[in-house]
């Protein structure tokens, strides 16, 4: 509305990604009869939760023209610490969840200070926090893996937030409802609040934004705090969806989220992108993760294929820009 042309462009991109998703679903369904089943859909959604949450957050640093590489190892680390507190220190589950999110926010603040205040390049700064978070969780938890309380245990109710199993045994992936609500909220934040407006402004021209009297340091930092917050939420989603959190894992998770956002039209050079686009882009990644094994593509080929799709997505942007 405010921005007809840019808006129109994004709409086009989102429609295109939707088209790709539809094409992938049709392709996989034709090639594999077991793919076109309800449990597979649930599985795609399962995988999508933590990646979606990471993507919603990391879209903000991306739009400022930066990146947050610490979210992957971060989410594992936060989930590990949260789980450690619950399982080994006996704190209530709710407190463990808050700790998981809280540490995410703290790491976000740390990234924000490094980048917005001390002017470190985002790639470098978050690469370092990626290493720090990778070691942080195992270091605080004695180096061992942790399983959050399972769905059937007394403390496992939080898992139902993402996957609700009814008495008759039917699984309802209600997590997607929360994702859509969060997409709505973050879309609003990006497009209709000062936080979002200044995020785009910083990605567009940081100096000009500063000269306009905007507290650039604060809003630049805020982008990384949002990213950290959502990495913490992703940690909870990961812990809720899967069994054991393994220390030292998580490297590479951030690439699924960043890749998804970029497929969805978020520009790696800043200024451009939408939450809805990032959300849809994540589904392209998740469909590949689940669908490629189903059509019988073996591990190595899955990775090759995923790499090619990402290159294609980035190429579309480059070619568009040239025109």
């Amino acid at each position: 509305m405010a921005n007809k042309k840019a808006f129109g462009k994004l709409k086009g991109r989102e429609a295109m990604v939707l088209g790709i998703i539809a094409a992938m679903v049709i392709l996989f369904s034709v090639l594999s009869s077991t793919f076109r089943t309800y449990p597979t859909l649930v599985s795609v959604l399962d995988i999508s939760y933590y990646i979606t949450l990471m993507a919603l957050g990391v879209t903000f640093p991306l739009i400022t023209g930066g990146v947050d590489l610490s979210i992957g190892t971060g989410l594992v680390s936060y989930a590990l610490i949260g789980g450690f507190l619950i399982v080994h220190q006996g704190v209530p589950v709710g407190v463990g969840i808050l700790a998981c999110i809280g540490i995410g926010v703290l790491v976000g603040v740390f990234n924000g200070v490094l980048i917005a205040v001390m002017d470190l390049p985002p790639f470098l700064a978050t690469l370092c926090t990626c290493m720090i978070t990778r070691g942080l969780g195992p270091a605080l938890c004695g180096g061992f893996g942790v399983s959050w309380p399972s769905a059937i245990s007394a403390d496992g109710a939080f898992r139902n937030v993402f996957k609700f199993t009814s008495d008759s045994g039917t699984v309802i992936p209600i997590g997607i409802v929360f994702m859509i609500v969060l997409v709505g909220i973050m879309s609003f934040v990006l497009e209709h609040t000062r936080v979002g407006r200044y995020t785009i402004a910083i990605g567009s021209n940081k100096e000009a934004t500063r000269l306009a009297g905007v507290n650039v340091k604060f809003y630049h930092m805020l982008a990384y705090i949002i990213s950290g917050l959502f990495a913490g939420l992703a940690g909870v989603a990961y812990a809720a969806t899967y069994a054991t959190i393994y220390p030292g894992s998580g490297a590479g998770f951030e690439l699924d989220a960043i890749g998804g956002a970029i497929v969805g039209g978020v520009s790696a050079s800043g200024g451009v992108g939408s939450i809805v686009g990032a959300f849809l882009g994540v589904f392209v990644i998740c469909l590949m993760k689940v669908g490629l094994p189903f059509i019988g593509l073996q591990a190595n080929w899955q990775q090759i294929f995923t790499g090619i799709v990402l290159i294609a997505a980035v190429l579309i942007d480059v070619i568009k820009k040239k025109k």
Partner: protein, 498 residues
């Protein structure tokens, strides 16, 4: 003339190693346009930054509307009514016009930004200024001129009482400048005070009421524009007389051999069927308004951008130029208008930049022959009078004019006989400009040939032997210097506009 609204007195500011402002005075009155002039580095921008709170002054007083003030940041200055329209456009390309206008002070309904109201307010503002811009348009889709209008509109929207224009016309076409002047005259009527920083003498004469001149961080004096001549101002700026007499006759013999011939060159909308010849020892000026397609022609000729069709002959022989490497091999050198992006590598030394285009001639096995490199670099530093402590100096530490000389040295080292100078003196101060001119004259005297793209009429008239004029991607005429006048050039340059 109105009352004094702003007085800066005895302003002093030092940076480590530099006394940037040495007890400078400035006085601005309501409803006037005050030109602030001086060579690059004279301290104009620093003074304005002290005024608007970007820098903190060491001593001195600022009196605004009768009260002593000291703004902590641009925002405070804005709120008090002092606004800068910057030299580099401060636009946010990905946001809409209205979003740009109100960045940092959005209208809101709760936490929601009220874009609708912002669009309405922007529309009102443009109507008031008589500018035709759609507030919902994405900023990066506007022309540079329109973007500049937005900047001015933004300043006005602050209820500004003092607007500072920092080289506002640098990127504007003649007609856009005219449009801007209309707005400035409007603002004058509304009793707004304006400070106009510019290097363009013609504009100063047209739009300003008084001229304050600075040199080397000091206040030199203030003149009434109507009562002074160009030379008066320039003398105050540089402390010496500059000859800006146009060339009256070409020194190139009529039968000098044609070194470069371009026929029916086509490359997109900006280069349509362009043909011309360049003779040995000649400076061929390319004139035209911003966006006339001159740089695009040069880039297509040089192989930097793809071309659709056209034949190129060097010394009578047809050549194929598909990329800059081909062009360089044909003896063509291109000195970009954007030195920092295309011309030099600022983090390398003078010597390394000098040999950059001809590294192959400086190899000893697989290593670069540093001694030979230094020799040639020294030679050109001397020949071009490049001001650098030594050739091992990083180029980033040189002034604009001397950087330009390093680029020239690079192409001379490559034995380029045809040099394309694209805006050779942009961002270079008056003294250094003269040296570049001398150098160009020396080069053609030595048998090199030069294509000079320039947006400055005085430069075109002073340097060219012949002038090609372009307009909207087409060549609209060719004038020998003996017949060239500002009027007939401008006539050709605007022929298709209307």
């Amino acid at each position: 003339m109105g009352d004094i609204i702003l007085t800066m007195k005895d302003i002093d500011k030092s940076f480590p190693g530099v006394h940037a402002l040495d007890h400078v005075d400035l006085e601005v009155r309501k409803g006037e346009v005050l030109a602030l002039m001086g060579e690059n580095g004279a301290g104009k921008s620093t003074l304005m930054k002290v005024l608007t709170g970007i820098y903190k002054k060491d001593s001195g007083t600022i009196t605004y509307e009768g009260k002593e003030v000291e703004f902590k940041n641009t925002r405070e200055a804005q709120e008090a009514g002092i606004v800068i329209v910057h030299q580099e456009l401060n636009m946010l390309g990905h946001l809409s016009v209205a979003q740009n206008l109100f960045i940092g002070r959005e209208f809101r309904k709760g936490i929601r930004i009220d874009d609708k109201k912002m669009n309405e307010e922007a529309k009102k503002l443009f109507d008031r200024l008589n500018v035709d811009i759609d507030p919902t348009e994405t900023m990066s889709n506007l022309t540079v001129g329109k973007q500049q209008m937005c900047e001015i509109a933004k300043a006005v929207s602050f209820d500004a009482k003092v607007i500072i224009f920092d080289e506002p016309s640098a990127a504007l076409t003649e007609s856009e400048i005219e449009e801007m002047f209309k707005i400035i005259r409007d603002l004058k009527k509304k009793d707004i005070a304006m400070v106009y920083i510019s290097h363009r003498m013609d504009e100063i004469k047209v739009i300003t009421d008084r001229v304050t001149v600075m040199r080397d961080g000091t206040y030199v004096g203030t003149l009434i524009t109507e009562e002074c001549s160009k030379e008066d101002i320039i003398n105050m700026m540089v402390g010496r007389v500059i000859y800006e007499d146009p060339k009256t006759e070409s020194a190139v013999p009529k039968d000098a051999p044609v070194v470069l011939k371009v026929e029916h060159l086509n490359a997109g909308k900006m280069v349509q069927d362009v043909s011309f010849e360049l003779r040995k020892g000649e400076i061929l000026g390319f004139s035209g308004l911003m966006g006339a397609g001159r740089t695009e022609t040069a880039r297509a000729l040089f192989g930097a951008d793809p071309k659709e069709s056209g034949d190129i002959y060097v010394n009578g022989k047809k050549v194929t130029i598909n990329n800059p490497q081909d062009a360089v091999n044909c003896g063509i050198g291109y000195l970009s208008e954007d030195r920092k992006r295309y011309g030099i590598v600022v983090q390398k030394t003078v010597a390394e930049n000098t040999t950059m285009a001809s590294v192959n001639d400086f190899m000893k096995g697989i290593f670069i022959d540093k001694k030979k490199e230094k020799e040639i670099a020294d030679k050109y530093v001397e020949a071009l009078a490049t001001k650098t402590p030594d050739v091992e100096q990083l180029v980033v530490n040189l002034s604009g004019g001397n950087q330009q000389k390093v680029v020239i040295a690079k192409w001379l080292t490559r034995n380029s006989d045809i040099l394309i100078f694209d805006e050779p003196t942009r961002g270079i101060d008056v003294g250094a400009k003269n040296e570049i001119y001398k150098l160009m004259n020396k080069l053609v005297a030595e048998g090199k040939s030069i294509i000079m793209i320039s947006s400055e009429m005085t430069e075109i008239l002073r340097m060219s032997d012949r002038i090609v004029v372009m307009c909207e991607g087409k060549k609209t005429g060719e004038i020998d210097i003996s017949e060239a006048k500002q009027e007939n050039i401008m006539n050709l340059a605007t022929r298709e506009i209307e």
